[in-house]
């Protein structure tokens, strides 16, 4: 029993210590970002890697999720004779919740893990030590462009996911189920407000972008310099960032509604 308490205590202490480490790491990223020069070329390169290369998975997922939502929604709404509210149902679910959360999770798996693995490999191949020996701060050169690109890319990908989801809902609702197109769009525009829905969804995705950027770069930067270490960090990045997205989503939603 004593051993169990001791193990729990030790784990908790380690978690708190890691939280402190991540906070300090975050402050260092902000400090480096505010200090010129802004590394524009690596930033654009990262935008391409994290954003453009994620477009396909985001697009297909958005479309598929919207189609499934419309299918399930239509069946349930038709029981109450409210099929015409399908647009509003799909819109609210996508814009408020599924868009930001699923985009966050997909980007974590697709781009966050890649970022951790890339930085971890740089640790293992002594590239970061090489930068230090050249009097160059690796956070400035390696972390800041990746973190900034991740934060910028997340709301953009969220917007694409949501728009394609709405399109998927329209395709199933109107083309497959035979709902009137005007009714779908009318319900959508009437139900989805800018401040309470669109702005909250976009802000959420910015928050998720910050979380994924912080976790993925931190895990890579502190990876053990072995292949096993890089693999462990990559796994931990996906687990930690996914949990952070899901938990923070609840608190954000609760606070936004107050």
């Amino acid at each position: 029993m004593l051993r169990l308490i001791s193990a729990v205590g030790e784990r908790s202490a380690r978690s708190i210590e890691q939280l402190g480490d991540i906070s300090i790491f975050g402050c260092q990223i902000v400090k480096c970002f505010l200090r010129p020069p802004l590394r524009f070329r690596p930033f654009v390169k990262e935008l391409h890697k994290l954003g453009v290369l994620s477009l396909l998975i985001i697009g297909i997922s958005g479309l598929a999720v919207g189609m499934v939502l419309a299918l399930q929604g239509y069946i349930e709404l038709s029981k109450y004779g409210s099929e015409s509210s399908l647009g509003g149902f799909v819109g609210i679910v996508l814009v408020r919740e599924l868009g930001p959360v699923l985009t966050g999770l997909l980007v974590t798996g697709r781009a966050g893990s890649a970022t951790t693995a890339e930085i971890g490999t740089m640790v293992a191949s002594e590239q970061l030590d090489g930068l230090r020996m050249m009097s160059v701060n690796p956070i400035d050169v390696v972390v800041v462009p990746r973190a900034l690109a991740m934060i910028l890319v997340m709301p953009l990908l969220n917007a694409i996911f949501t728009v394609l989801g709405l399109l998927g809902g329209w395709l199933v609702g109107v083309r497959v189920m035979g709902l009137d197109s005007g009714a779908y769009i009318g319900s959508l525009t009437a139900s989805v407000g800018f401040q309470e829905d669109v702005a909250s969804g976009l802000l959420k995705s910015v928050l998720f972008g910050v979380l994924v950027a912080l976790v993925s770069t931190y895990k890579g930067f502190n990876s053990a310099p072995t292949s096993e270490g890089v693999s462990h960090s990559t796994t931990m990045c996906v687990v930690t960032a996914s949990l952070a997205i899901l938990v923070s989503n609840y608190f954000f939603t609760a606070l936004w509604g107050m």
Binding site: K45, S125, E126, D129, G130, M133, M134, S135, V136
Partner: protein, 287 residues
Amino acid sequence: MVLTHPISVDGAPRPEGGHVVLEGVRMEFSDRVILRDLDCDFPAGKISIICGGSGSGKSTTLRLIGGLIRPQQGHIRVDGIDVAALRRTSELEKVRQKLGMLFQKGALLDSTNVFDNVAFPLRERTKLDGDEISARVRECLLEVGLKPADERLLPSELSGGMVKRVALARAIVTEPVILLVDEPFSGLDPITSRRIELLLQKVNKRSGITMIIVSHDPGSTMRLADHLLVMLPDRYVQGTPDELRNHEDPRVTSLLTHEVDDSILEVDHMLDTVIQRGPTDLDSTWA
């Protein structure tokens, strides 16, 4: 920083400084002692070679000098400045401007080509314009024997020997006073290895740079070294190659000649046990 000692100019004055002293350095990683009370002196302008068995702390010594890790005890003085005592990154960066390091696997930035890798420290640390940087990079690449056509290659497209040469060019491009070199001959065939050896010798002779090299290669060690530090499990021995060639401790000569007398193995194993358990177990181990 503006370059003051162009490496290409024959007979350029030897950069000032380059003296490294380690005093009572103790280093351990998760309860495993790597270095215990290491005292040594690397003379300025000379080629010093560190050799020793695997896990004896050779690369750790280089990383300590570079300030990449901090010892639990002791002083590491680079031209009088105690690197181990520096707490601020800015102070450490000032010392590192005197240092260049060639890592075992090159540590080249794998997303940028050869030219950009070598130009990187100049872009970051000097106010040279684009043309000056290009000229300087090409000069260094030529110095290490790389052709202009190699400039656009990515590190993944280079052979092991080329990686070391590019890494060397990057390490010397800012004219460091001290060059730390980790296992420059490992994984190379004898011809490429000899090429790297001659290259290091040429750089040292031309610019008077202090070189501290970790090496397992006895041939290169004896040819290159002005000064040797041999790291054994229980002691550190230093001196010139001539002094150490016929040293009383057979382990020293074994490391320098690669001719191992089997009786050493038993003694070495016992010493390992003593070191792991601590001196109190000395009698029982020898009994």
